[in-house]
Symmetry: C2
Subunit: 360 residues, 2 copies
């Protein structure tokens, strides 16, 4: 094995072993590992194995419950609220989406809010769980405050991602999965390392002036909502991020807005709470609660083919369907394995040493 | 009465009279007039009385059914699909949202897709119908193609707006209502009239090159999705507009993407159909399907107060809550009346002459 390139099974086994060392049940460890690895497969490595050390350190400081009991605390025919019991986010998130799917089986749709959770990795994973049931899936989550509402100088909302997955017939599914900011925080880190400046509309300084400084956040600045500034529609990005926060946290009983606790063990917990942990929101809609599934899939195939056949703009190769880049990446990692950054490998080796495992 | 300034009741009476002349029932005419006038009150005059002449001319050319029978064509405990029977969009849209609210009463949530409709005016009106039932409201619609997907040179999607309304307690409700583009088409028209150029990220020419030409659309160009270009996250705006199209039209049986028929009587109907008319999608979620209503409203009050108290960016006065600008406008029009552009007044006078009514 070359340095920094790994097989799926090697990384998956290691991740599961670490999680079991932390005390997770076999089932829960497998669930979490699958979501971590899905991020790597889909090319969203900012939410992949790199995050394992965050959770490990949170667990070391007693901020993660390794043996959570996820409970339904409120329900109606098409809704439920789950208490995540302080778990690693993937566990209550998978349970939340499963519950939404079960509700949809009987009620046509299912909508589940989750509180007392933490970072759940990639939103798309949960939305996509609906696909094999011939359902449209929806997921979103709040997150630690990094983003300033339009006209504010202070981060009040997370990058609050939204994912929507729609099944098709012969075509691959439509899978949109995006933060409600122009780019992810990860782009700032990469730019800083390369000595590059940020594009316009990504960040502002501590006073709320536009900046191209990739270290803006460390200096009291903020990320900006999708749109960047008011002229380019940042109030719409703010609306989206706010709606995600309300559904995920106000409605679930989790901490909202600036009260969402940090996921970094070296950051101290906040003084004020407005609920428990992080919040998520999941939805599942049975396609045949609207029209016969076969008809819907034919219509989606047509929709996808029509969009793909749109003439490309000058200098562009083709129009993409949401989910295409991630599918390309899945094919590539299946062929070539998963590449980790040297610093992530070093992190894994630190964990290996602490847990008595091996990571080469 | 000064030139071009009118009272609510004068405009409402005239609008209802025109609609009744077209053959609408008393109830349907009142429903439509209320939505037209709500747009004026909320300062979204691009969807206000100015549109009455569009519908009038569509009716003259036989493209509007003045006596629609709106039917439920598919349902489950929490869903329904309505056939809008070629009506003015407001009629099936109000019926759609009412149905979503009724479903939510029993199932916890209600989700309704509508086909065979037309332009429904402002999306926010329908989302806000949920508020007095202590429900969270959602609405969206597709529209005639004006927007190019990221990397495409051709308009394939409408400006596809999304609205979300959330009840609060002592605070006013959260009401987000926005097109999935940086600005509305109306801004292009205004810029052209003033001889101004467009900001970056609003439009591209027929080949897909960025342009600041406010007449770009007339010359074969397109509007751009929220984000503007790939670097600034236009693929996310494209995802949003696409999701609206799928929920509103693929799922309802309406025309989708570039097949959405024009709302202008002078534009000929398209050769190919992928369904019937325009499509909408509505949702209602009973707050107490997630937590006790009083608790939720206290939490929303807190959320709103926290966001309002965020320190403003340098040079800005304050942070707004979605819905604030529209509420300000409602107060202003209640005080000062509703101002119409001279050209809209002239349009109304043309209609008055044709219908034997008076408009001064």
């Amino acid at each position: 094995m070359n340095c920094c390139r790994y097989s799926y099974s090697y990384l998956s086994d290691f991740t599961e072993s670490v999680l079991r060392y932390m005390g997770l049940s076999e089932t829960d460890a497998a669930v979490c590992a699958k979501v971590f690895l899905a991020a790597e497969q889909r090319g969203i490595s900012t939410h992949g194995v790199i995050r394992l050390s965050d959770y490990f350190r949170l667990w070391e400081t007693g901020r993660i419950n390794a043996r959570p009991i996820i409970r339904v605390v409120h329900k109606s025919p098409s809704t439920a609220v789950l208490d995540g019991d302080g778990a690693i986010g993937m566990i209550p998130a998978v349970r939340g989406m499963q519950t939404a799917i079960e509700k949809a089986e009987t009620a046509g749709t299912g909508w589940v809010a989750v509180n007392n959770s933490s970072n759940f990795g990639i939103a798309g994973y949960y939305a996509m769980m609906a696909l094999k049931h011939d359902m449209i899936g929806f997921s979103c989550t709040n997150a630690s405050p990094l983003v300033a509402p339009t006209f504010s100088s202070k981060p009040m909302l997370g990058t609050n991602p939204i994912a929507i997955a729609v099944p098709a017939g012969k075509q691959p599914p439509f899978v949109a999965d995006f933060a409600t900011t122009p780019v992810t925080r990860g782009k700032f880190t990469v730019a800083a390392k390369k000595g590059e400046r940020l594009a316009s509309g990504y960040a502002q300084d501590a006073e709320g002036n536009p900046t191209d400084d990739p270290a803006a956040i460390e200096h009291g600045g903020s990320m900006l909502p999708l749109g960047g500034d008011r002229i380019h529609g940042s109030h719409k990005g703010y609306c989206l991020g706010a709606a995600v926060d309300i559904l995920s946290a106000v409605l679930s009983g989790a901490n909202f807005g600036p009260f969402v606790p940090p996921m970094m063990s070296y950051l101290s917990m906040l003084d004020e709470k407005t609920g428990d942990g992080w919040g998520h929101f999941f939805g599942a809609m049975r396609v045949d609660a609207f029209m016969p599934t076969i008809e819907f899939k034919q219509r989606m195939d047509k929709w996808i083919k029509v969009m793909r056949s749109a003439p490309p703009a000058k200098g562009q190769e083709k129009v993409l369907i949401p989910g295409d880049p991630e599918r390309e990446n899945e094919k590539r990692t299946a062929r070539e394995g998963i590449t980790l950054l040297p610093q992530v490998v070093a992190d894994m080796q630190v964990i290996a040493k602490k847990t008595g495992l091996t990571f080469k």
